[in-house]
Point group: C2
Amino acid sequence: MATDTAAPDAGSTRGYVQPTIDVAALRRLLDGRYAEVRDLVRSNLAEHASVLEEAETLSTDDYRDRVRDLVVTMASTGQTGMGFPEAYGGGGDLGASIAAFETLAYGDLSVLVKVGVQFGLFGGAILQLGTQRHHDQYLADLISGRVMGCFAMTEVGHGSNVQALGTVATYDPDREEFVLTTPDPSARKDWIGNAARHAELAVVFAQLEVGGEAHGVHALVVPLRRDGEVLDGITIEDDGLKMGLNGVDNGRIGFDHVRVPRENLLDQFAQVTPDGRYESPIENANRRFFTMLGTLVQGRVCVGGAGINAAKVALAIAITYADRRRQFNATSEEQEELLLDYGLHQRRLLPLLARTYALHFAQEVVALELHEVFTQTDAPEEGENEHRRRELESLAAGTKALGTWHATRTIQECREACGGQGYRAVNRFAALKADTDVFTTFEGDNHVLLQLVAKGLLTDYAGEFEEMDQFGMVRFVAGLAVDTVIERTSVHKLLERVRDVLPGGDEWDQEAGLLDPDYQRMMLRFREEHMLSGVARRLKRGIDGGMDPGEVFSRVQDHVIAAAGAHVERQVLDAFVDKVATLEDGDAKVALNLLCDLFALSTIEADRAWFMEHGRMSAQRSKAISREVNDLCRKLRPLARDLVDAFGVPPEMLRSPELVG
Amino acid sequence: MATDTAAPDAGSTRGYVQPTIDVAALRRLLDGRYAEVRDLVRSNLAEHASVLEEAETLSTDDYRDRVRDLVVTMASTGQTGMGFPEAYGGGGDLGASIAAFETLAYGDLSVLVKVGVQFGLFGGAILQLGTQRHHDQYLADLISGRVMGCFAMTEVGHGSNVQALGTVATYDPDREEFVLTTPDPSARKDWIGNAARHAELAVVFAQLEVGGEAHGVHALVVPLRRDGEVLDGITIEDDGLKMGLNGVDNGRIGFDHVRVPRENLLDQFAQVTPDGRYESPIENANRRFFTMLGTLVQGRVCVGGAGINAAKVALAIAITYADRRRQFNATSEEQEELLLDYGLHQRRLLPLLARTYALHFAQEVVALELHEVFTQTDAPEEGENEHRRRELESLAAGTKALGTWHATRTIQECREACGGQGYRAVNRFAALKADTDVFTTFEGDNHVLLQLVAKGLLTDYAGEFEEMDQFGMVRFVAGLAVDTVIERTSVHKLLERVRDVLPGGDEWDQEAGLLDPDYQRMMLRFREEHMLSGVARRLKRGIDGGMDPGEVFSRVQDHVIAAAGAHVERQVLDAFVDKVATLEDGDAKVALNLLCDLFALSTIEADRAWFMEHGRMSAQRSKAISREVNDLCRKLRPLARDLVDAFGVPPEMLRSPELVG
């Protein structure tokens, strides 16, 4: 960036032939195996595009009802039920359901979130945590939207730390019922979508007490309303106006000795017999809890994908505008310069475009893995498969964190790149920004998610993995010799992979071509490995030095987060490189290679201080990378418009009549 | 940050005694000479605090009217007219008017912007560009709010490039009138605050044509409405719903042969005689234009200060919350940990707090300079004083850019640090975020402003300075030998200053204490000097290599922006260090020194890649700086609450009953 002290010469364009992009073909490549599903959602979005404007003009209540109606209408096209069994009217294809949800993020995001609440969270909990009885009773109605429900996990006092929830469900063997209670105001369920207005049912997470014994958090189906009236013992407050997503009726729920039949316990992983015996195939309470939570990983995969697609909308608007809008005379007196011909404007938008492509392909990998893990087996508690599930959870957590932060950053940069026009509601940035803002903190706060990723890496998803909170993790790592940590953990495998690809010699990273994908991957792997083993060493040293685990964790926390981020970025690059490798030679491959190079090098550039501090990059090489990033931006500039057109955002979703019209 | 590979040991706390903060005294220090004015605004804000909620509950029209009424009510307390001459009912103290405006940013920002439009832009244009006749006719009415007006500069097609405006004002000597015309849709005035609903008058910027000759952009007073009806020949469209600031009625204005009397030309810098002779004391048209624009510098100073104060509100909420909210068990099984005791949470919030203090003191310097320049003299066109005005414009542009970007970033980080709660409208982040978002692009797009700063530095505000666009600047710099550039420009003076303070020897920067303010200042000066001369060299090399100036500029643009940013950050640090130096020894000084160190070192840390690339920092030293930043965060953690309380944000303005109540 500013480090580029060389003359602005012609750059390394020797022998480079500008590729031509076949937009339709590239779109097919991006749409992948679920192109038809995505096109169904696109046409549903276009048909109901008026909701984008209604979000601004209707009263809050009317807007909420409009969103509910739209969700039910979309449900009737099959769009929202693809992940449920066909026997109940679903599509029987989890991957299709993820693709449909991601595409829905091109439109009004209240609709998206309402769909996520009803079919992903509420429906997903019934499907994954319930058994046949619950499926028979609820699935057909919820898939059609005849019955609306909510997912009542988060409380006022506990968002991220779900194990510490305060709501209690006590079993009463005399009446064979559970009694739900909110012991204090901080235990009220909060932010519960569908609660303030539309839900008849809720899946409620509560501390289960049977025969005076506590068994940890479990889920139960609890009726909230009948004929629109809130039932006795239940109080619901409206969460009121929010920054965005005001088409979703979030609310707070309190329970005052609310009774539900024993059968309402979602009993896939634990049962309570009529006479009050607690039984579970998973002995350890913590492990059981995390196994339950693990089945809900789909929500994170969905939110990550939605964030990435919201970023595409912003880029489609900003890049189209920058390719039309002129400001200040430059090369000629007659005509002002196009914004996208300014080097700074390219620098602001094109690395974000490259990262969007990278995250798109990473998301494709997560979604496919989710589909396979959940489709191939019904026995999540067994060995090899369990390990795979833990890795999937980690992959989903990391992609969600990076994808949603990317959305926040990209939408902001695109809005600023459109100047004052970006501030008008009609130009979509207002809604995009306000609605996506919460993506970084819901379905798991991004920092907490990255801690989860780090914990998995440092313990290699050890048997004890699920039972550990972050301080347990500190103690676990500290209890091993550092070498053992390196050997036992994922770091070890990573090092082996690094060695596999090293061209040999200590100077490899100074000599390799910057555009060599092996070089780029090795840089990201080296960073990941070094950061992870550094974390392990610091944790151990802290504990060995007699420091309290909480204090140790607090001091190493930013290092933990950075290591996890490095891991996920490496996975994202791998996904991009692997994808490009599958393509036949041709212009599309050339263009995607440019994007992949730009993603890799701008990622390395952003952390170049770290690479220099750790002896993996000379000052000279660092400057060369910045120059290469500039070169890549210039090469991509003429392709930028086609590259955003290939996202296939329906024109109706862009609105912005004066920016892109 | 992640580079800290040392054990999390006790850190360098040898001999350090925790200071105690006298909140009231620190608040007096921050309030400075205008403490009384700030308190008047605070009590006005508290009295009318209901507007924060009304912003959410009223219809757009009602909210706009409510804001207008509130502005008029505040005007009656003298709060908004402090910068106008006493003869017309003003306060005769420009500095007081800046202080009042800044403090107003603690409250509803539509009120702030409406005040800015009416008294800063519209009133400021009448005062600065008009003469006695205009003052007599308009000032008393506009100061009281009896007459509302707008400032019609920006057009659909031209925001940043004001010289290229399309609106035309042709002089008709027969009727001694100007005829205003909007030649095409892109020349419609756009984003004009007060236009859609409340303004009776507008100051309109148009290309002046007299006797067939074009004289560039001038300002005229144009009536828009009478008794609420839009006048003939004028069309006004509502800009509609915006991301935020919906209490301000922005509109688009078109003129179809609208006639105004000759006397309506604001003729401080140019007159047209009845028979149609154009006269101006400033011969060069470009220079005249920039002299006119220069008188409006106050608006940028105000927006910068408002951004900084909006950031204070966000920090006050997030830090108070983090000092109360617990999540996850750490050091004890009974009680969860306070968010602010997590290292990462400190890292996220405390450097932003330090930067807020730094920008506060930098803003104090700009505001004082503005006050002095505009109070001491009425002859802006003369030599020494002219140079001082150009430097003030540059200082104001730079502080506005850094202050408003800081607001965007700080509000976002604070909102995320409050988790889901940050998303509720009642907790203020929704409004803070949406309302301040446009600060980075209005009153000058931040990137364009930093280009202005760089141009001033590279040309040392040469006589030709105002006449140059960015490409003119490229040609100017390229026309000199590089040594001449360095010698003629501000870079030269800077180098001398660097030499003055260098402890001597080439190793000074490796040996000096990290907490030595001389070290910190030298690092920022070195960066500034190096970047600026680098820009000069690259511009020259590009032109000498036969490249088109537009292409040269495009390629060097990010370097130009970075150099300007480095310059402004150095000025900010200087302001902070200078301020602390004036304090008597004591706890307040200790605390502010910690903040100043944290600002300086986190600024250097953020650009540590650059320092390493340019041989001014070893990898070891870079890591030591990150460790020191962590240490400083830990030292400031117990003081954080007091440090935000000292901002004196009225509790009513924080709302957030569950976060801070």
